[in-house]
Symmetry: C2
Subunit: 158 residues, 2 copies
C-alpha cells in the first residue's frame, strides 16, 4: 500500500516545516535550513551505513563504494537504481537520477527550479553520511537542470 511513500511524505513535510519555521526568510536563513537538512541526512546516512553487512564495510576502492550507493542504497531508499555514474578518474563522481522521487511531486516547470535545492539537501547529506561510514570523507553537492532529474557530484577522499 503506502510503505514506499511514507518516507517521501515525511521528507516533504519535514522540509516544509523547517522552511516555515526559519525566522530569517533571506538567503542566510535558507543556507541555515539547507545545512540543517544536510546534517539530518548525514546522521541518517551514517545510521543506515552502520546497518550494512560487514563485507560491505570493507570496500577498498572508491568506485566500489559509489557503485554500492547507486545500486543497493538507492534501491533500499527508492526501489530503483541510479540512472548513471560517471567519473573523471581523479576522485570526482557524477551520479545521475533522471526521475528523482523527492522531486517528482513538484511541478516540472522551470519556475520551480529555485525550489529544488531544499528537496536535495537531505539526500546530499545522506550520501555523505553513508560514505563516511564506509570510510570515505566526501563533499556531495547536487544540481538540477530540468525537473525531476538531478545530478549529485561526489568527491570522496579516504
Amino acid at each position: 500500500m503506502a510503505d514506499a511513500v511514507l518516507f517521501e511524505f515525511l521528507h516533504t513535510e519535514m522540509v516544509a516545516e523547517l522552511w516555515a519555521r526559519d525566522p530569517d526568510p533571506g538567503s542566510g536563513g535558507k543556507k541555515k535550513s539547507l545545512s540543517v537538512l544536510e546534517g539530518l541526512g548525514f546522521r541518517v546516512g551514517q545510521a543506515l551505513g552502520e546497518r550494512l553487512p560487514r563485507e560491505t564495510l570493507a570496500f577498498r576502492e572508491e568506485l566500489d563504494a559509489l557503485k554500492f550507493l547507486c545500486k543497493d542504497l538507492w534501491a533500499a531508499m527508492f526501489q530503483k537504481h541510479m540512472d548513471g555514474l560517471r567519473t573523471n578518474h581523479q576522485g570526482t563522481y557524477v551520479l545521475q537520477d533522471n526521475s528523482f522521487p523527492l522531486l517528482i511531486t513538484m511541478g516540472s516547470g522551470s519556475q520551480y527550479l529555485e525550489e529544488a535545492p531544499k528537496f536535495l539537501a537531505f539526500t546530499c547529506g545522506l550520501l555523505c553520511g553513508a560514505l563516511h561510514t564506509l570510510g570515505f570523507q566526501s563533499l556531495v553537492t547536487a544540481s538540477v537542470a530540468a525537473l525531476p532529474a538531478c545530478k549529485s557530484l561526489g568527491s570522496p577522499q579516504v
Copy 2:
C-alpha cells in the same frame, strides 16, 4: 537492507531536530513541539489516506476503519500488525502495540518514560489524519506504561 528503517531513522532525527530548535525549553515549548509533530503526522496521514484504494474509503462503520488502521496501515508503516484493539462500544477505541518500533531504539528503563511522548506525537497525528481521509473526525492520544509498549486512544466521530 535498510528500507524499513529509513522512515524510523528520519523520524528519530526529525524529533531530535525539532526539540533542539525550540527556543523555549519549558513546558510551553514542549507542548508546541508536540503539536508541530502532530501536525506533521496529520498531513502525512492524510496523504497516505488519499492513496488508499477507493473501496477502502467507503468504510461506513468506525470499527472497520479502526481495523484497517490496525492491520493494513500498521503493516505498511511497521511491517506488522497492531497487537490489540478494544472498544467500549461508545466510540472509544484502545489500540495496543506491545513493541512500538519508534520506541524500540530508546532504552527501556522507567527513567526514559518522560521522553516517550515526543516519539508518539507524530504517529498520533498520522492516525488522526488517516481517519480524517476515511471520513471520521477523531481525537487520538497515546500513553506508555512500560517501554517499548504503547496504547493509542482514539475517539472517532463522523
